[in-house]
């Protein structure tokens, strides 16, 4: 049940058609709940694995069409597809289920909990409004809700319309029965008529995207629906002085460059500012020099996708302004000319400017323990903090960063691709989608056996 994105030769459905699709999905809920979670993981994983199989036409089509549909270069598209699809396999999905919900699976059977028993029920209809940016996020989203037995209506993001459509097709070939519970439908973002039609029967609504987009969806979600928000996020890096040795600078810079470049910096996990501790054997400025070289190398192997005019213009404004600010307040701007990477070493506090391309700001920090305070107001939007060189201080620093708002502290190399069971923006990716039913002991104490608690007795005097 896929209505292709207009960019892929599809058409925009009417709100009535969207309502009919939602209704039809809703009607599959009981059948979907009758299937064991393991069988869903098997089918979803089998469809996902097709994106990794070099012989499979689904993978071939994804690789061929991703650069145009996502705006990423071919080389980056391939990496993103490989890394994303690796988490759509049966083994990873079973592990996600077990990690999140435990074993035996409470979606299938009542499980012990505090002496009573509980059952997890998937949403009767999960509507997911996905964002542009990173290809694969839409598939990860729909896999999550199908895995918890929720019929799923996904509206793909602008730059991520291809993979959900391909996945829906792959799934319909692998398991047509399960595919009946999935629809990928696109409509123009500003159409509240379509949105209302989609949301009317939703039990869970998941919205990805800008704060404005998420707020707009939230405002129209039914009051009875649970709302899961993945709003705008920003990620940063933190380099401890232990990592700042001559021998380590080059490999460290490579890891940071890769973390910042993996999705052309479009991911919410992509670090935009890297804070570097002062007082190491090498200075933050030296790391910035190395980072510039590493960005150049990454660009050569995994080039940035073509910038549109607006982004190119934004990049020119940002680079020129940064150069002036560096000339005025100290610092240095490295960039690749017509290669759209930029590294701005900014020793003094600077007003952030709108950027484009792969644009990393390197800032000094006196001590890692001071970073949480520095990030202050960013808290509600903070996500990943990439790290290196914190050695014995890691746990303590992680705690302060977590308290400041960060939800993921990861080595730079791991930053771009979190595992499927990560606490996405601080929450369980499956837990947020299910509803619990508690079944208490069948033989409670009789009323006459109850004695009021001491406090209640006092109050009754």
């Amino acid at each position: 049940m896929t209505i292709d994105h207009p960019a892929h030769g599809g058409r925009v459905p009417t709100p009535d058609e969207v309502a009919a699709v939602a209704e039809k999905l809703h009607g599959t809920r009981e059948h979907l709940r009758s299937r064991p979670a393991a069988s869903l993981a098997a089918s979803l994983g089998a469809a996902g694995r097709r994106f990794l199989d070099p012989q499979d036409p689904v993978r071939a089509e994804a690789l061929e069409r991703l650069p145009e549909s996502s705006g990423l270069s071919s080389a980056v598209s391939r990496v993103v597809l490989d890394q994303m699809a690796a988490d759509w396999t049966e083994e990873r999905l079973r592990r996600l289920l077990a990690t999140e919900l435990g074993d035996p699976c409470p979606l299938d059977t009542l499980v012990e909990r505090g002496g009573d028993r509980s059952l997890a029920i998937g949403p009767a209809l999960c509507v997911q409004i996905a964002a542009g940016g990173v290809p694969g996020v839409g598939v990860t989203a729909l896999v999550r809700s199908l895995l918890v037995k929720g019929p799923t209506l996904l509206k793909p993001g602008r730059d991520d319309a291809l993979l959900p459509a391909l996945y829906a097709r792959a799934l319909s070939e692998v398991d047509p029965d399960l595919a009946e519970s999935l629809a990928v439908v696109y409509w123009p973002g500003e159409s509240t008529g379509h949105l209302d039609a989609a949301l009317a029967r939703a039990e869970v609504v998941v919205a990805y995207g800008s704060n404005a987009t998420v707020a707009a969806v939230r405002a129209r979600a039914p009051v009875t629906a649970r709302f899961v928000a993945y709003h705008h996020r920003v990620s940063v890096g933190l380099v401890g002085r232990d990592a700042l040795t001559d021998a380590n600078l080059a490999p460290l810079a490579r890891d940071i460059a890769w973390a910042a470049s993996a999705y052309d910096q479009r991911g919410c996990v992509s670090p935009r500012v890297v804070y570097v501790e002062e007082g190491g054997a090498c200075s933050p400025a030296e790391l910035a020099d190395h980072l510039a070289r590493a960005m150049e190398d990454v660009e050569a192997r995994w080039p940035t996708g073509a910038l549109d005019t607006g982004d190119a213009s934004k990049l020119q404004q940002a680079r020129g302004t940064a150069e002036l600010m560096a000339a005025s307040a100290g610092g240095r701007v490295h960039h690749g000319g017509s290669s759209p990477w930029t590294v701005w070493w900014a020793p003094d506090d600077v007003t952030p400017i709108p950027t484009a391309g792969r644009f990393v700001v390197v800032r000094p920090v006196a001590d890692a323990s001071a970073l949480a305070a520095e990030l202050g107001a960013l808290g509600p939007h903070l996500q990943t903090v990439g790290f290196a060189g914190l050695a014995g201080r890691l746990d303590a620093v992680a705690k302060t960063l977590g308290e400041a708002g960060a939800s993921r502290i990861a080595p730079f190399r791991a930053v771009p691709f979190p595992p499927p069971w990560w606490h996405h923006d601080g929450r369980g990716p499956l837990i947020d989608l299910v509803r619990w039913v508690d079944l208490e002991r069948p033989e409670p104490a009789r009323a006459e056996e109850l004695t009021p608690p001491a406090s209640a007795a006092r109050l009754s005097r």
Binding site: V234, S270, L324
Partner: protein, 395 residues
């Protein structure tokens, strides 16, 4: 915020250059009621004449503005090496939001013009420090006189607030300066807070119709849309022959965008003026010279084409390489404005257009404001964070 040390010795070179420029600007000024405008006066300055002054201004700005000097040195373009004005490093318009770019940093500026706010709450408004206001006045009058007034004096009906009420608006200064030079009388229908006096608008246009004296109505496109909405639904006015409208600016920030053709058609219906009497002006706070549509001289065929002041050069550049694009090809617009001798002459804008034979066709602002994906740039994040803290919903 900042304290200015006054009574500081001004830069002698700046004073000399500015005096030379002002005299040269005056040479293009057709004084008095010259119905047949001498077009040669407004001809582009010759390349040697322009380049000589451009390089003098560059040397001055290089010497006097440390940030600019740093940028030029990093890029390897200094007064010693540059021989063409095109090679003078351009400063992005965004930089005016973050730095005070003036050749008289120790002197109290004669005016501080601010750019309008943008959709991102916190993003700083740009400011242009004006070391010598007469340079602006004497740059704007000849072109305004030629392209809008065309040698005649007439009453002004202004939908732009007067400068005395908006001292940080370069547009208000421009209209006030033009009014004091070319207007027989001026009605200010919009106050410093942007409120348009609807009754005064209706009555003043009716009075003009009755008096049969041509008038000039000036306003931003936004204000003209408001005016048209006020006039529509009543008996339409027929403004006297020779009346004209000057409109400036786009429709940024409007809920519903309307095209310029649509605005002109509605203005024609509401005032009886034909579109060839509607002159478009293109200017920005960061530039002290303007461009105009030469429709009064050349008719409607020139609509959409903007002619720069003789001392203003414009190029269209490849957005990624910043190399000149071929004539007629769309690019980012960069301006070299000699009237900016007191700040930065060479400015790279975010506007798109084509340049042919020194004239510009505008294509609006480069798109792409919306970030891709769930990531957010730091600057937008700061705005979002502050909005969240203050309890307001982000825009």
């Amino acid at each position: 915020m900042r304290a200015y040390i006054s009574l500081v010795e001004p830069d002698v070179r700046f004073e000399a250059l500015a005096a030379d420029l002002e005299q040269a600007f005056d040479g293009s000024f057709a004084r008095g009621p010259a119905r047949n405008l001498d077009d040669r006066r407004l001809a582009r300055w010759s390349e040697p004449e322009f380049t000589r002054r451009a390089l003098a201004a560059f040397t001055l700005q290089f010497d006097r503005i440390p940030a600019y000097r740093g940028l030029c040195e990093r890029r390897g373009f200094t007064p010693e090496t540059v021989t063409r004005w095109e090679d003078v490093p351009a400063v992005p318009a965004t930089a005016f939001k973050h730095l005070d770019l003036t050749v008289e940093p120790a002197k109290r500026p004669e005016a501080v013009f601010r750019t309008s706010g943008t959709t991102h709450g916190r993003r700083t408004r740009g400011r242009h420090l004006i070391a010598r206001l007469s340079l602006y006045r004497r740059s704007l009058l000849p072109t305004f006189g030629a392209r809008v007034i065309h040698g005649e004096r007439m009453p002004f009906i202004s939908l732009v607030p007067p400068w005395r009420e908006r001292i940080d608006s370069s547009l208000s200064f421009m209209v006030s300066a033009a009014a004091s030079t070319f207007a027989t009388e001026t009605l200010w229908l919009v106050d410093g807070r942007g409120r348009l006096d609807a009754d005064a608008l209706r009555s003043s246009l009716r009075a003009a119709e009755k008096a049969a004296v041509p008038v000039l109505v000036l306003g931003t496109s936004l204000a003209l849309v408001r005016a048209v909405e006020i006039l529509e639904g009543r008996r339409s006015v027929r403004l006297p022959v020779g009346s004209r409208i000057m409109d400036t600016g786009g429709f940024k920030g409007m809920e519903r965008e309307i095209t310029r053709d649509e605005l002109h058609a509605r203005l024609e219906a509401a005032t009886g003026l034909i579109p060839s009497m509607m002159v478009g002006e293109y200017g920005m706070t960061e530039l002290l010279s303007q461009l105009y549509e030469p429709v009064l001289e050349e008719g409607l065929a020139a609509s959409g084409t903007y002619v720069p002041a003789p001392w203003l050069r414009v190029r269209a550049l490849d957005p990624l390489t910043l190399a000149d694009v071929p004539e007629g090809t769309t690019g980012l617009l960069a301006f070299f404005d000699l009237a900016n001798a007191g700040s930065i002459c060479h400015v790279l804008t975010e506007d798109l257009g084509t340049v042919s034979d020194g004239r510009v066709k505008l294509q609006g602002r480069a798109p792409g404001a919306e970030p891709r994906g769930c990531s957010i740039a730091m600057d937008e994040l700061m705005a979002a964070a502050e909005e969240a803290a203050s309890g307001r919903t982000p825009q």
